[in-house]
């Protein structure tokens, strides 16, 4: 009878929904595990997972999309939202200041940026404002030689000289270069005197770009540290380094969400040529494994 057929059909639809709902839960759990494995901040991962699950259950799948494809499309969309509007550093005269935690790749990135801009017809100067690390001057000076860029530093710098070096360095380099890159010392949020130093350098340099350099291996510390750096210098861009390793770079999501700044470049190796503009699609597919 019609009512039997109708009842049968409705039962099938209801069961399909049940199967799909359980399947969706399972897929979302898998996504959550992948996000956490990729070092996404725990709270951010949970928040994203909740929103993904809600949307997956409420929104209509695209025609012919499997439950998995439906969820993946939403995950992709959520990640794109977190990463925000993409942008590149403009090819124009400016001062760029690099900041970040220890060993992230700031000094190497200064050299990479110099080469990148030079290849696009701009003159670049490098300022060695790291007065703490042994042979930081030598490191940046050798890099400057490699890219054949004007360099300013003080080999005999004292612990309080960072701002002074930047002041003198920029005065010297601003009339003969288009872009000046200020490389600073590694530091973290708990060191008041180093945070103060960074603020002093920031004030003296008055940079157009304040770039947070972050290593793709950084885990749960990415968020809190990015927040601290942002409070001090109002970060305008993020550079994610060492993506040539195995780390998925989930910490970068926190760096972006805490600073409100997009990823402008990625570091893909140790050589000065190893820098590329950020590709959100590649980042997302790598993150999800």
């Amino acid at each position: 009878s019609l009512s039997e057929n109708l009842r049968d059909t409705l039962a099938k639809v209801a069961n399909a929904n049940r199967v799909d709902e359980d399947l969706i839960e399972e897929i979302v759990r898998e996504i959550q595990r992948a996000l956490l494995q990729a070092d996404v901040n725990v709270k951010l991962a949970l928040q994203m997972t909740r929103s993904i699950k809600e949307r997956a259950l409420e929104e209509e799948p695209a025609a012919g999309a499997s439950p998995r494809e439906h969820v993946i499309r939403i995950v992709h969309d959520e990640l794109v939202q977190v990463l925000g509007e993409s942008r590149e550093i403009e090819l124009k005269p400016q001062t760029i200041m690099l900041v970040g935690l220890y060993g992230q790749g700031k000094t190497t990135t200064a050299g990479k940026l110099a080469q990148y801009f030079q290849q696009r017809g701009l003159q670049v100067g490098l300022v060695a404002a790291d007065v703490h690390r042994p042979a930081a001057y030598d490191q940046l000076q050798q890099i400057s030689d490699q890219v054949d860029a004007p360099f300013y530093g003080d080999k005999e710098a004292g612990d309080d000289d960072a701002a002074k070096i930047v002041d003198e360095g920029l005065a010297e380099l601003r009339d003969r270069t288009d872009i000046q890159i200020v490389d600073t010392s590694g530091r973290h949020s708990l060191e008041d005197d180093l945070i103060q130093e960074m603020e002093d350098v920031f004030e003296v340099a008055d940079p157009d770009e304040k770039i947070l350099v972050i290593d793709a291996t950084v885990g749960q510390q990415a968020g809190p540290q990015a927040e601290a750096f942002n409070d001090a210098v109002d970060v305008s861009g993020v550079i994610l380094t060492k993506i040539d390793g195995s780390a998925k770079g989930g910490g970068a999501l926190s760096a972006v969400s805490e600073t409100g700044a997009p990823i402008v470049f990625v570091g893909t190796g140790e050589d000065l040529a190893d820098i590329e503009t950020f590709d959100a699609e590649r980042f997302i597919s790598r993150l999800l494994g």
């Binding site: 595990r33 956490l36 190497t108 510390q221």
Partner: protein
């Protein structure tokens, strides 16, 4: 009083989160969660209010048993080995603190009355040789180096030779940072290992790292064999979960924790100290 079985799932999930937020790698957090699943039903307390404390002490005990025998007593090792000089090679990915760790170890050894020679085995990175030489100058420790671009194995060999003729206790070999995914660089490291034939190989890991710490330690262990690790930058408020991950999942004991950039900023690994941090 027992834990309500209905609550166990949620409780286990919360515990797993505590560990993940402390940068404990996912597979290790999962393992601890499973261990807690066994322990939670056995909890018996007199009052409901005592449950949180009981859970925390079970977790502490689970972590402690994970870290059982996972401290590498470097100072003792030095005293029990009568071979001289002893060669210690430091390996790890880029920027983790290998060079700074060598300086701190040399300083500590000097305070304990042992002499060292430093081998400038990073012949590649800009300023690497100068960085180690500056440490050597400040510490009054001899640094053996060749020209930039020279063979790192040859530098190590030369440093060992120098230490033998000068009757030094230790040779600390610095190597260039490298991604464990770069097979050419890992082959190069294996070659340095063959030539230098170190008595101890130390993996230097960054405690800012999340899940990648395990991947790194495993690959370096496969390539050259790791005897112990040092976890650096623990002072950056990083909860140090990476130490737990590396110590347990890779089965390598932790010798020291780096807690700053100064020469004194190196402390012997203490599981209780670390557990306290995770729970802070």
């Amino acid at each position: 009083y027992q834990i309500d079985p209905e609550r166990v799932e949620d409780l286990l999930w919360d515990l797993e989160l505590v560990l993940l937020e402390a940068d404990v790698a996912q597979e290790v957090a999962r393992e601890l969660r499973d261990e807690m699943e066994r322990r939670l039903p056995r909890i018996r307390v007199d009052a409901k209010s005592e449950v949180p404390q009981a859970v925390e002490s079970e977790l502490t005990s689970a972590i402690r048993s994970l870290l059982e025998g996972r401290s590498f007593k470097f100072d003792e090792w030095l005293l029990t080995e009568d071979e001289r000089p002893l060669t210690v090679m430091f390996v790890g990915v880029n920027g983790t603190g290998k060079t700074t760790t060598i300086a701190r170890v040399a300083h500590r050894m000097k305070e304990l009355g042992f002499s060292s020679v430093l081998a400038a085995g990073d012949t590649y990175r800009a300023g690497a040789i100068e960085q180690l030489k500056q440490h050597g100058d400040k510490l009054g420790v001899r640094v053996v180096n060749h020209e930039p671009g020279s063979d790192a194995a040859a530098v190590a060999f030369d440093a060992i030779d120098h230490a033998e003729s000068r009757k030094k206790d230790l040779v600390l070999v610095d190597t260039a940072g490298r991604m464990q995914t770069d097979s050419n660089l890992m082959d190069e490291l294996a070659k340095i290992d063959r030539v230098a034939d170190p008595d101890l190989t130390i993996f230097v890991g960054d405690s800012l790292a999340g899940n990648d710490a395990i991947e790194q330690a495993k690959e370096f262990d496969k390539a050259v064999g790791v005897d112990a690790s040092v976890l650096t930058k623990v002072d950056t408020d990083a909860k140090g979960g990476a130490a737990l991950s590396i110590a347990h999942a890779v089965g390598k004991p932790v010798a020291y924790l780096g807690v700053g950039e100064g020469y004194d900023d190196l402390i012997p690994f203490d599981p209780d100290w670390m557990i306290e941090r995770i729970f802070e």
